[in-house]
Symmetry: C2
Subunit: 219 residues, 2 copies
Amino acid sequence: MMGKLTREAVVERALEIGDAEGLQAVTIRRLAQELGVTPMALYWHFKNKEQLVVGMADHLIEGFEITPDGSRPWREQLRELVGRLVRMLRRHPCAEAVLEEVDKMEVPAFLRVWDTALGLTLRAGFGARESCLITRYILQGAIALAGGSVEHRRCGPEGHAEHVRLKRVRFQSLPPDTYPNIVRMAVPLTERGDAELYDTFGVDLLLSGIESMAARLDG
Amino acid sequence: MMGKLTREAVVERALEIGDAEGLQAVTIRRLAQELGVTPMALYWHFKNKEQLVVGMADHLIEGFEITPDGSRPWREQLRELVGRLVRMLRRHPCAEAVLEEVDKMEVPAFLRVWDTALGLTLRAGFGARESCLITRYILQGAIALAGGSVEHRRCGPEGHAEHVRLKRVRFQSLPPDTYPNIVRMAVPLTERGDAELYDTFGVDLLLSGIESMAARLDG
DNA sequence: ACCTGAACACCGTTCAAGT
DNA sequence: ACCTGAACACCGTTCAAGT
């Protein structure tokens, strides 16, 4: 057809489908059909479906351009790293699912982020085992937190609004004596467009845990 | 066969398979076969596979027995809640996958936990929107953190040890100039048996973030 | 109420073959 | 090197039918 079937083109198409309809809609056969090609053609470029998802993850994280800088404070750099992760996760509705499904050890770009985060926490004065736990905490935490702020854009913005309304109604019609807070807070629970809160309060929340643990080290 | 095919029996068998071989091994057909029954028999007890996974999630969280107690400090109660979540997640290797796949709104036991957490953060003085974000952060964070401390027990403890060794070798054989910290920390990165660190330092990490944000409210 | 049998529409993947 | 065709073993699910 038009142009060549390249690895990158496949991955980008997969991300489009995933962002629009959820990762479960990304299927070898569906992907092949949309690319005007036979399903088996994809097996030339990817060993199997798992490697395709690895490719998607790598494409999402690639280009974060983290430059470890010994002169800047570690908090600042860690915050920047987390901020980029969070923003990417909100741009791509399927990113959370991709990063959960994938074996992160197979994703070069993720390993780079991880390595940078490790370097920063070690510099903060944490021990080896604590640093491992902290980096896992912060990366997974960022994914979980930012992922929660995203609804799959199944059918454009109007479908999204409808989806929110439906969810709210379901919360409100729960038995109020067993779920008093959820029923009462149905509105704020379903408000998600609120990107600002995630970028400030959310990232603060993630990092302040680490910072207060670091303060205990110094004290 | 022996005994009746009950909803609970199906869910428990599904959890056994999931813990032993991973959630992707939990299949309607496989489950039916192990229960000595036709695949379609399961559709009498569950509307579809999604509802089966909901049942698994509910069974995992059920019986947490969270009793909101106005006289105890919120930090303490929140810590207890998170501790129970973390311990359950380590007992059940497939719990993380189950809780990620499922729509948590459909899981009554999870809604109870969520409601309790909401009540506690509201009592701590956070606003409605902040409380929603914090409870999402702490529940998702606990899942992510504890889930990371678990390897699927594919083939007993000896297979597990072999799996860890293999992972370590893969870390060590990465290019050291692009992943210096990961290569250097290959050993602590792959040590996971270390339950104690997760139960103490890990939970501290999660909660100290919230506590320091709460301190800013008072200050 | 509880379960079976046969069928449908979908998967991922292999393997030999084409150009 | 890059793609196709046919086939295999597996899914979840429906629907009519049995007891």
